[in-house]
Symmetry: C2
Subunit: 327 residues, 2 copies
């Protein structure tokens, strides 16, 4: 199914007609695609009473599939290129177990687009709206499904509204942060190492900023961390020379980030805060605004990595191993 | 309850008498204590058909508790000292929701030892057997519970056997690896930065090696990674100068680690493999041996950090912030 025709209501009709009541949601992919699915894992486990979710790297899912995996499972599989070997294996593992298997890919000619799956082909250009990218499509499906399975669910309208509104909010915020990102890059493009933190539904955005934007695309060493864990070990390395990026969420886990921020103000010097509170997020229902930090932070990581690329001269698309050598 | 009297059969009797059938298991703590609980999260989600599990930092659990949290939930809380503020808050969150709330602590006078919880006071000295530490106590409880809730469960005897056997296996392996750890420390004690990897049930042992053993106890910068994710971004930084520690598991996810190992052999030079296949693990039932890599790798991280301390002269117990300043 091409995303331009995507309709969450019809899609969930199909899920319910084919598989009935869903109990378990599995979000399965590798690298950047796995990161896209994290906030939906968090969303289900926080907000649903009828379903639980697990977030699993593809090869783990293949080698150690959940014993619960069956026709009451809804499995989201994502591979941008659509041919990542272990992700295709994961899709087949899900299919074989009778799960409703949704595959996201950018390439309509790839293995993930095979008609044996419920494939969703998304576009990925500058003009693509957030609602049409895998993160928000997954929200749309799960929001509709929770609404139907749980009469008491209260976030249905708020989530639908946020999925539409967030695109413009994020585009404006990215423009507003352009100069700040340039300044960060000017000072730290040749840093030997840095740490990136965020909280709650946005945790995986630190992970993605680190492994995709910096390690993969700039060959820059870095670590990622859930802000909730900073004071339980990692803060002992903090001093005036260590570099940190803190992506401070709005919503329920904000106080976790604020506690880190306060500590960095006192004991660090080289830290950058990307604060969602400066991004116009108050237009989104406060009961579910947490889930719209991740698409915001993703676009911010693109902004920052591009600013860094412009200083390093290291092309974002240059690879020495991925797609170049055998592994 | 003091661990010397601990009896999983009686403990699960109490769970079932008070709370009936358990549907959800939550494993909640901070830092090192959270790491101890990861493999039980993995165990439940791979092996159980009647329960799902989630692994959550304490403050996330407090600020965004699962909507499913209720009397059908079994919550494991761990705090070594027993007074970690957000972990005590998490225990109270669980208690208030009617969950069966198990608290682990080393200190019988701490808040986590309060009789309002089902507290388990463990010892933590060199002589303490693995079966009497939180990781294996949690296995014992969950193994007993799955056995009772699921007639078709096949790992009951294998897990019980592994919980007893692993202590001697690990003690022998640690002796065998002593010289190797000294050699690693001799070469790399002053490394500017290194990466640590492991797979499956052992993923959190990389996390713990990094944030507790190196960042907290040695103020050494490092990153951690699930081996399953290495080829999806992080491997682009690999070269002859980057330092890696790979903890290679035995069991179902071993092939994930072997793929990484093969790549490091070809493209890196400074890498250390701690291979569970050299540790006598074949004495444990192969269907559940995966779950005994984590206690092995934990003890290996203690071995390596001690070897590093002996070179750096940086005492493992020295802190500049934790327990020293306000935060």
């Amino acid at each position: 199914m091409n995303v331009t025709e995507f309709d969450a209501v019809k899609f969930v009709d199909k899920i319910q007609m084919k598989n009935g009541r869903i109990k378990d949601v599995y979000l399965v992919a590798c690298g950047g695609s796995l990161i896209d699915l994290y906030s939906s894992f968090y969303f289900v486990n926080r907000e649903s009473t009828s379903m639980t979710a697990e977030w699993i790297p593809s090869k783990e899912f293949v080698l150690t599939p959940p014993k619960r995996l069956d026709s009451h499972s809804l499995v989201f599989i994502c591979s941008h290129g659509g041919n990542t070997k272990e992700t295709v294996e994961a899709a087949d593992t899900a299919l074989k177990a009778g799960a409703f298997t949704v595959t996201y890919t950018h390439d309509a000619a790839s293995k993930c687009a095979d008609e044996k799956y419920h494939s969703i082909i998304y576009t990925w250009v500058d003009e693509t709206l957030q609602k049409d990218k895998p993160m928000c499509i997954t929200y749309s499906i799960l929001n509709e499904l929770i609404h139907r399975q749980e009469p008491e669910y209260e976030l249905y309208e708020g989530m639908k509204d946020g999925i539409i509104k967030c695109d413009q909010i994020i585009r404006s915020a990215v423009k507003k942060f352009q100069n700040k990102a340039w300044n960060f890059a000017e000072h730290y493009y040749n840093a030997p190492f840095l740490y990136i933190m965020s909280s709650g539904a946005s945790y995986a955005q630190s992970y993605g900023f680190a492994i995709c934007s910096l390690q993969e695309m700039q060959w820059i060493d870095c670590g990622y961390l859930n802000s909730a864990e900073y004071f339980h070990g990692p803060f002992e390395v903090t001093d005036k020379d260590h570099i940190y990026i803190l992506m401070a969420s709005v919503g329920k886990t904000r106080e976790i980030d604020l506690r880190v921020w306060k500590f960095l103000e006192k004991y660090a010097e080289k830290y950058e805060v990307i604060d969602a509170a400066d991004c116009g997020m108050e237009a989104i229902d406060s009961r579910c605004v947490d889930y719209f930090n991740p698409p915001l932070f993703y676009e911010m990581s693109v902004l920052y990595r591009t600013a860094i690329q412009n200083k390093t001269g290291h092309p974002l698309d240059m690879r020495r191993y991925m797609g170049v050598v055998e592994y």
